[in-house]
Symmetry: C2
Subunit: 426 residues, 2 copies
Amino acid sequence: MTITQATSSGTLKIDGGRLWDSLEALGKIGAYLDEETGLVGVRRLALTDQDVAGRELALGWMREAGLAVRLDRMGNVRARREGAQPDLAPIVLGSHLDSVATAGRFDGCLGVLGGLEVIRTLNDEGIGTRRPIELAVWTEEEGCRFGTDMLGSAVAAGRITEPDARALTDAAGISVGEELDRHGLVGPVAVPVDPPAGYLECHIEQGPILGSEGYRIGVVTGVQAILWQRLTFHGRAAHAGTTPDELRRSATLAASLVTVHLDDMVKSGRFGELRASVGRFETSPNLVNIVAAEALITVDLRNPEEEAILAARDELGRYCREVSERTGVTIEAVTTAHTPPANFAPEMMDLVEQTAGELGMNNRRIMSGAGHDAGEMAAICPTGMVFVPGLYDGISHNPREYSTPEACADGVNVLLHCALSLAGRA
Amino acid sequence: MTITQATSSGTLKIDGGRLWDSLEALGKIGAYLDEETGLVGVRRLALTDQDVAGRELALGWMREAGLAVRLDRMGNVRARREGAQPDLAPIVLGSHLDSVATAGRFDGCLGVLGGLEVIRTLNDEGIGTRRPIELAVWTEEEGCRFGTDMLGSAVAAGRITEPDARALTDAAGISVGEELDRHGLVGPVAVPVDPPAGYLECHIEQGPILGSEGYRIGVVTGVQAILWQRLTFHGRAAHAGTTPDELRRSATLAASLVTVHLDDMVKSGRFGELRASVGRFETSPNLVNIVAAEALITVDLRNPEEEAILAARDELGRYCREVSERTGVTIEAVTTAHTPPANFAPEMMDLVEQTAGELGMNNRRIMSGAGHDAGEMAAICPTGMVFVPGLYDGISHNPREYSTPEACADGVNVLLHCALSLAGRA
């Protein structure tokens, strides 16, 4: 089957205007005025009233589209469009509706509302499928509130247990379980869930590559491994004027040496396609004329290869020991996150690539730098992702996050034809 | 004159217990419970009610000792014990009573109360002097509240003008002038003041050298030059996972490179006895998975030689340009403080050294790493300082700051005999 034969009246297309209107309407839930940018941003932290309000708007649209909405025990949504062969495992399209504290309108929402737009289009055209198609909304993808990202999909895929997930707490000590119970989001579907026949997620790239290279579609090859460490440096406070160099134990110097070494590691090429970022850097007492006694930095390592990220972690540990000897500063490292790489199924990459090509959209294969629910689903079923470019170097987790109506429609048109191909026309 | 001939009944000595009691009583004014150390610290920021309460206690003691208390237009205190030849310029003993926000009981107070103890001892022994002896209490030595240290003594010595000093404001926008007026501290003595015949200040070392080397007295040779810069780094926020290395402009990396380079500069020996400290290090948005867009660090340079500190500043500027080219991060540098080195008069160093030796106290010459009011007075009169060791590596600006009763008495005994030598027995 080629796409140009899909309908008698030409290539089947989603309604880009309707998709855009839905994105805009959803973006009003949890809207706030961002002081730094002066823009209206989105704040729907997972399982807050704002998050639930966003879900309700989307679930209302799903019901209007004739879908049967069910919840699993983690509050993950499955909204089902029945197939001609209901016993076949479904094709699942999904993403998340929760957001970071300073979000735009696209991250996650494009995947959920894109899936909805696929359903609406099939409904409008009266197209039935052999397999059921289900829309998924995953709980707490961002990890901003309860500290673990991809939480709902990780429980659905069996990487994290339901009790462990329910026990996680936010900064105020409120647990995931309490919030699921309070909102009535504990559904009857057991976790881990039955594996679908395939999972597809459309998402903005959240990076600069597609935009800078002029591609309309990214064929995602997988999600790179992520390893986070929090390093604390214990030196000794000392007067900046009176303490000779040889008696200093500067926590700031030790933390800076590690920060510079991480960059050297990246540029050495010894760790493959390593990315390393020191996002937080804090010192105490943080005064102009006192050598800092304490410092804290966070290290964010990414790599497409698990072996390479572990080698980078080991080199970081070795270098910390060297710095500790050299500076007299003791260094503690705690691993706060570690997810192995997810490699998407070759047949799914081929499908996305072929579909984009047939729709006339230039495209390239791209590894996802950010984590996604698709990374979890890849453990239990053939999984693919469709990236669309974002503007402004792909800025995300920021009210400036923006993808054009055309780019959003591109991605969802690819999603539509991939889903149709996987589910099969009835 | 040698000291052993000073009195018929043996060597003249101050009352160490009385000195200690005064230090303890003054330490109760502005006392607070320090959460980090669990100790009772001192907080008498300049020209606050606490600072004024501390002054009043000390001024009460000065009046009880028969001194005539006058104020200059900056609130600097001069408490005078008349000499047999009132027309001769006085010998001034002094220091400050204001403190940092987390202080101990010694910094500054030892110099003021030590001077008072000298007067009390002379009174007790009925010893008159040829020259008048005056006690000085300088306003806002720490610079913690209004941003400029040695403020009162700098105005008295003519380095800063009275209007400039009065115009300085604290974080709440309250000016030095308003506070001087509110507390009634604008006195009749004009600034800059008439040069005294000599100035002596006893102070804790605030560093580890005397303690670690086992010396009882430090003969201070001067105050090293101080140069502070605030560097701001403007990079670009970027997603830690999705942004390729070549597209990053990490403010944190740039700031870390500068921090490491400063340490290399110190260890290179190219800048003499350079000390360099990055006391503050802040990044924004300071999140684990975002490459920081902005960073701020402070650089504190010290050097006994003005030429060497300027060379270090220039090398810092050159390296910042190199880092800027390498990282794509723009760097702004603002000099927030710069005081040239003060070299004390050779005859004052000789006097302190000889006096300590005659009192049987082992001693060494030492450059002051911290700024002191004596550094300002050195511009207008022969000036000397007497250092006593502090415990715990000389920690200061911290409630752990501690000098033993014996060490305090040592310093003030040296002060007594130096003052007597300079003022001359009547």
